[in-house]
């Protein structure tokens, strides 16, 4: 089971990292959240039994962990992740683009953050709704609202 788990999280490491990044304020918080997501995935891995799509399950656990951890506001000692990048402080052109994305997504509420991230990943509305717990119609309505909010934000910046 351990090998299977390791292979799964390796496959979805970018997904988990992206969610943690969008819910964090610095690199330490990303490591902290990443570890918390892994612990929750491991706790539920044995009971998962393919009840839903594995990627849907991972997205849900990652979002719910990040949202509940934010609510608790507690941080514990976490191990550092094996990465040379710091998406908060690096200054190359690619990272600057990513930081723009971060600022836009981070300025939204946690629930809208999840919806827009899933939409950007190219997920269909019904799957997004399945992950966050609302109907596909509600997803589309919320996305319209998010788009307007993003538009207002870029107007303010301009």
């Amino acid at each position: 089971m351990e090998q299977e788990f390791t292979a799964t999280v390796r496959q979805y490491k970018s997904t988990i990292y992206t969610v943690c990044y969008m819910f964090s304020k610095d690199n330490d918080e990303v490591s902290d959240l990443f570890q918390e997501v892994l612990i929750n995935l491991w706790k539920g891995f044995a009971g998962f039994q393919g009840k839903s799509n594995i990627s849907t399950w991972i997205w849900r656990i990652a979002f719910n962990t990040c949202i509940t951890q934010q609510r608790k506001g507690k941080r514990h000692e976490a191990f550092s992740l094996s990465t040379d990048i710091n998406l908060f402080t690096d200054e190359d052109e690619d990272t600057r683009q990513i930081q723009m994305l971060y600022q836009r997504i981070h300025s939204l509420g946690p629930f809208d953050r999840a919806i827009v991230l899933l939409w950007l990943e190219g997920m269909p509305y019904d799957e997004i709704g399945d992950i966050v717990g609302i109907t596909a119609k509600n997803v589309s309505v919320r996305l319209v609202r998010i788009r307007e909010e993003l538009k207002k934000m870029s107007h303010r910046k301009a």
Partner: protein, 197 residues
């Protein structure tokens, strides 16, 4: 409805997310240390223990039941009703924690989690509503049983005072735990409602 794909901000954001994904794919991110810490076996053991410890109550209470029946000479019916009540309390506590399983809440969506929390809160309120009258009746019955079974006033008074003190202390602790749980559940429900608004 306007096509969302026409929106420039969202188009740009999608490109930026692809860039992030490409960047992250090149990174190792995971290492032995973090994987080992996450897969600590104690986590699963602890979960199993948490799940089943609630059901240990009826077993622990067996000596108390034997004491009621043999030493205080209380009736078999009273002893059985008391034991059934203890079993029901243990079962409902286990059922409640099973519903509130953190992993299940995490692997479900927030709307469903909110529904579950609301259900547990209502369940707790109803359970308390039925429990309090039952405990008052039980205590009156306990006093009558004691009076019938023990002619000796000192034994009667000792057992009654012991029962009364135990009842007040236990009842207060139970009520405090109940109110605390209800408050926490209310906060969680409110938080989820705020998040999904």
């Amino acid at each position: 409805m306007e096509n969302l794909n026409d929106n420039l901000e969202l188009q740009e954001m999608r490109k930026q997310l692809n860039l992030l994904n490409r960047k992250l794919e090149k990174e190792h991110i995971l290492n032995e240390q973090i994987l080992r810490k996450s897969m600590h076996k104690d986590i699963i053991k602890m979960r199993r223990w948490e799940k089943w410890s609630g059901l240990a109550g009826p077993v622990v209470m067996i000596p108390f039941i034997i004491l009621l029946y043999t030493f205080l000479h209380l009736s078999l019916l009273f002893t059985l009703v008391t034991y059934v009540f203890i079993c029901l309390v243990a079962f409902f506590t286990w059922y409640k924690w099973k519903k509130l399983d953190r992993n299940e809440l995490l692997s479900g969506n927030l709307i469903n989690a909110n529904r579950k929390l609301l259900y547990i809160r209502q369940f707790n309120s109803k359970w308390t509503l039925y429990c309090i009258p039952f405990l008052i009746l039980w205590f009156c019955w306990f006093y009558m049983e004691l009076k019938m079974a023990n002619g000796d006033v000192s034994v009667l008074n000792g057992a009654f005072i012991g029962g009364l003190v135990g009842g007040i202390v236990g009842g207060s602790c139970g009520l405090y735990a109940h109110l605390k749980t209800q408050r926490t559940l209310k906060e969680m429900i409110k938080d989820i409602e705020n998040l999904t608004r």
